[in-house]
Symmetry: C2
C-alpha cells in the first residue's frame, strides 16, 4: 500500500464528518468542546484543534465566537452545486457512441495528465498481494489452464462474492452470482437478459457513457429521468414514467452515479425497490463504485431491499482491487439462468486462474481495510478538487459534491463549451471528459466530468489552474 | 507433455499418409518396395513392413499380391460416409438455444465418459509451460493487474498472433488483430461488426451450435448451405445464394467443420475468397480447429487469399494450448475498428496478465511442435473411433472421416432417434451430442456428433461398444 496511515487529526475529522453525513450529528447541533474532544478520544490539545480546523475548512462545521463549533446547516458549497437535471422524458435512440470511443482513446495518450478516466489509482490497489495469489496458483494448479471454467463462474469465487455482498446488505445465494469479465460485461449481459431490441430502458440524466453505449449496442432505447446532483434519480418522475409507458428495465447507478457522484439516500432506496417490484420492472443496479464510499460503512445497495429477485446488481473489483483482473459479477436474482446463458454465448466462461486467485484474496479478509483506506484518499482528493475548481474556473461554475466514487461533474457558465475546453486541454496534455457523451443526444454541452482517480493532491492543483486559464480564455473569447 | 514420441514406423506412416492426402502420391500409384523404403529412410526391414501394414489397416494403401503396395483409389470407408447435406435454403430464425445449453451442462456431470464436448485433451496441452509464464509475470509485473489493457489487446500479443498467422499463410498487420476472451467472443464480435439485427448469415449445414446461438443472440437469421462431409460447403450453392438474395455475411468453418470434420480443399479456398470479395459479402472464418490438422503443415486459411480485408479470421488457443486461458482473436481486416469498438462495449479489454503470458509462451517458438504432436494423437484417435463406430453401430450407420479437429459426425439409420440415444447414453454415464442442435430448427434427428478430444484409445473401445448396444436396442425396438 503506497498510502501511509493518516494523521490522527485526519482520522478523527473523517469520523466526525461521517457522523454528520449519516445524521448522527444533526445540522445546527453543537459539537463537544476542544477539551471534551481531547478527553473522549485521548488525543492532544493540538490534535483536537487541528481536527476542528480541518472540518471547518471542509465546510462540515462552523465556529461561532465564544460558543464553540456547530454542524453547518448546509455543507459549504451546496450553493455551488448544479440543479436537478430536467431531461425531455422521451424514449430516444442513442447517437454518441463514436464520440465516446475517441475520448477513451485520447485519455491513453502518453504524457497526458489524466483527469478524464474514471479509473482507480494503482497506488491505492493491493497489486502485489493479488499477484502473489496468481503466482501461487500458477505454480500449484496449472490444470486450471486446461479446462473451460463453468459459465456461471468458479464456485469458490461465487461463494466469496455472495459473502462479500453482505457488506452491501445483500443476502445472495452463490447460485445467483454470475462471474463476468468486469462490470461492463455484467451490464451488457444483464440488459440482454431482461430486455430485447427496441425496448426502452430508464436511466439517470446524466449517466455513464458506457451505459448509453451498452443500451445502443443492444438496439434498445433510453428514457432519461431527472436526477439530483446529490440524491440521484428523482423517484416521483420515475413513478410517473412507470404509469405512463412500458419500460423494459431501469438501469441506475445509485452509489455513486458516474458522472455526478450522487448517492440515493437510504430512505429512497427502499421506495425505489418497492416501486419497481410492484411495476414488475427489473432494476439493473450498477454498483461498481459502491465500495468507494465517503460514508463508512457504505449504504446498503438497493438490491438489499429486493424480495422478488427483481434486482440485478452489477459490479466488479476494478475500482478497489485491480482493473487488470477483469473480474466482475452480476447478482442476478431470478434472471440468473438467463444471464448465465448470455455469458455462455458471449465467451463461454471467464478464465479460471484469475477467478481462483481473487477467491483466495477475498478469503484473506483484507478487502475492507483496503477499500476504506482508498475511499479516505479519494474523499480528500474530491474535496481538494472541488475547492480548486471553484477557485480557478470562471464565475458561475457549479461543481457537484461527490458522496463516493472517483469523479465529479462540472457545470460551466452556459457560454463556455465543454467540447472546446476538452480540445484545448488536450492540446496542453490534459485530458478531461466533455459532458456531451453522458446523454443520448449530446446534451450537457457546457458540462465536464473530472476524475480524481489518477491524480494525487500534488498534481491536481497545477492541472486545475491550467484548466482554469483555458476556461477563462474560452469564456472571454465568447463574450468579446 | 504426456504424449510420448511415436514409434518410427508411425512417423513414417503419417508422413506417407500426408503425401497421399496432399495428392503427392496419387490414387493407384505404386509405392516404393519395402526394401526401397528401408534404404530411403534408413530404417529397419521390420519398421518398413510395419509402416505398410499400418497404412493398409487405415485404408490408405492396398497390397496387390506379388506387385507391392498401391495408393487406394478411394480411402477405405468412403462408402460409409454420409452424403452431401441438402438443407432447405431458406433464411430462418433459430430456435434450439435452450436445448444446446442443456447438452453443454450435462457433459459436465461428474463420472460421465465425455464423448460430447469438443474440448482438447488436457494431457496434450503444455499447461506447465504456460503456467510458468503466468507465475513469472505475476512475480515481476504485478502492475499488469492495476490497469485496463488496451481494448484491441496487449501489443506484444497482437504482434505474436500476427506472426503466428503466417503458419496459416496469412500476412496480417498487428493492427488488424483484436484479442478476445476465446473464439466464441471473436465470433460474436465479428457478427455484430458486419451485420445487424434482422440480417441473414449464410452458414454450413450442419454447423456448430455455438455459431447458431451467436446468430440467434444477435437477432440475425441463418441460411444453411449444402455441405459435403469431406470437402465442406458447396460453392455452387453459395454462388447461387449470393445471386438470389442479400446476405450480410458468411460464417464458415473451413478447417475443420464442427461437427463434420470436413476441410475445404485448397483450390476451393481461393474461389471462396474471390466469390465473397466480388459480392462484397464479408467472410467470418472460424479457424478454431485449424491447427489440429491431420495434414501437416496445415492448409492455408481462406483469409490467406483475401486481398480486400474482407475476411475476419476468428480463432483461439483453446484447442492447442489451454482453454482456461480464454484467449482468442479476430484478424479483422477492414473491420478492425468496428470489432475493437464492440470489444470495448462487451468488456472493455481482455485481462493483461494472461495476454502477456501467452505472448511470452509464443515467443519461445515451441507452438508448432506441440500442435503437431497433438494433431498426430487426435488423428490416431479419429481413425480408431471411426473403426469402432462402423463395427459397433447398427448396419447402415455412416461416419465422416475428419481431416482435423476433435469430432466426427454419425448418421444413424433413419429409424434411430439421436436424442433418444443421447438420453439412453446419459443414463449410462456416457455423453454424446445429439445432431438436432447443429441446425436452426432441429433437423438431423438421426445424427450424432462424437468427440475424440477427451477419451484416449483405451477408454474409447468400451464406450463405443456400450453405445452400440444402446443403438441396436433402439433400432430393434423401433422395428419390432
Amino acid at each position: 500500500m503506497a498510502e501511509p496511515a493518516p494523521f490522527l487529526y485526519r482520522q478523527l475529522a473523517d469520523m466526525l464528518a461521517g457522523q454528520i453525513r449519516q445524521g448522527l450529528l444533526a445540522p445546527g447541533e453543537r459539537l463537544p468542546s476542544v477539551r471534551a474532544l481531547c478527553e473522549a478520544h485521548a488525543v492532544s490539545l493540538s490534535t483536537a484543534v487541528q481536527t476542528y480546523l480541518s472540518l471547518e475548512q471542509e465546510g462540515w462545521v462552523e465556529a461561532r465566537p465564544r460558543a464553540g463549533y456547530f454542524v453547518r446547516v448546509r455543507p459549504r458549497g451546496a450553493e455551488c452545486e448544479p440543479a436537478m437535471s430536467r431531461p425531455q422524458m422521451v424514449a430516444r435512440e442513442i447517437a454518441v457512441a463514436h464520440l465516446a470511443l475517441d475520448v477513451v482513446k485520447e485519455a491513453r495518450r502518453p504524457g497526458v495528465v489524466n483527469l478524464g478516466a474514471a479509473w482507480a489509482d494503482p497506488r491505492l490497489l493491493p497489486l502485489k498481494a493479488l499477484a502473489r495469489e496468481h503466482a501461487e496458483l500458477a505454480r500449484h494448479k496449472p490444470e486450471l489452464l486446461g479446462v473451460y471454467e463453468i459459465s456461471a463462474g468458479y464456485p469458490e469465487l461465487r461463494r466469496q462474492v455472495a459473502r462479500h455482498l453482505q457488506r452491501a446488505g445483500c443476502r445472495c445465494a452463490p447460485d445467483e452470482i454470475i462471474i463476468t469479465n468486469g462490470c461492463m460485461e455484467a451490464l451488457a449481459l444483464s440488459l440482454r437478459a431482461v430486455a430485447k431490441s427496441g425496448d426502452t430502458i430508464a436511466i439517470e440524466s446524466p449517466t455513464f457513457y458506457g451505459v448509453l453505449q451498452a443500451i445502443e449496442a443492444a438496439g434498445m432505447k433510453a428514457l432519461e429521468l431527472p436526477t439530483h446532483p446529490r440524491d440521484g434519480v428523482d423517484l416521483d418522475s420515475l413513478e410517473q414514467a412507470l404509469k405512463r409507458r412500458r419500460l423494459a428495465a431501469c438501469l441506475l447507478i445509485p452509489s455513486f452515479n458516474n458522472p455526478l457522484g450522487s448517492c440515493i439516500p437510504l430512505a429512497h432506496r427502499e421506495r425505489l425497490a418497492r416501486l419497481l417490484a410492484s411495476a414488475d420492472v427489473p432494476l439493473i443496479e450498477d454498483d461498481v463504485f459502491g465500495d468507494i464510499s465517503f460514508q463508512w460503512p457504505r449504504l446498503p445497495a438497493v438490491k438489499s431491499f429486493d424480495r422478488a429477485g427483481n434486482v440485478l446488481l452489477c459490479s466488479s473489483f476494478s475500482k478497489t482491487l485491480g482493473p487488470g483482473c477483469r473480474l466482475g459479477y452480476v447478482a442476478a436474482g431470478r434472471y440468473a439462468d438467463r444471464v448465465e446463458h448470455g455469458k455462455l454465448l458471449a465467451n463461454i466462461a471467464t478464465a479460471g486462474l484469475p477467478q481462483a486467485a481473487l477467491a483466495n484474496y477475498l478469503a484473506r479478509g483484507t478487502y475492507d481495510r483496503v477499500a476504506h483506506r482508498a475511499s479516505r484518499a479519494y474523499y480528500r482528493r474530491s474535496e481538494q478538487l472541488r475547492h480548486w475548481l471553484l477557485e480557478c474556473m470562471p464565475a458561475g461554475t457549479r461543481v457537484t459534491q461527490p458522496q463516493g466514487g472517483v469523479v465529479l461533474w462540472v457545470e460551466l457558465p452556459s457560454h463556455v463549451d465543454g467540447v472546446a475546453l476538452h480540445d484545448a486541454a488536450l492540446q496542453q496534455q490534459l485530458s478531461i471528459t466533455p459532458g456531451v457523451i453522458f446523454s443520448p443526444h449530446a446534451d450537457y454541452r457546457h458540462h465536464l466530468r473530472i476524475s480524481y482517480g489518477l491524480v494525487d493532491d500534488a498534481e491536481m492543483q497545477g492541472a486545475v489552474r491550467k484548466l482554469g486559464v483555458l476556461a477563462h480564455d474560452l469564456a472571454s473569447r465568447r463574450s468579446s
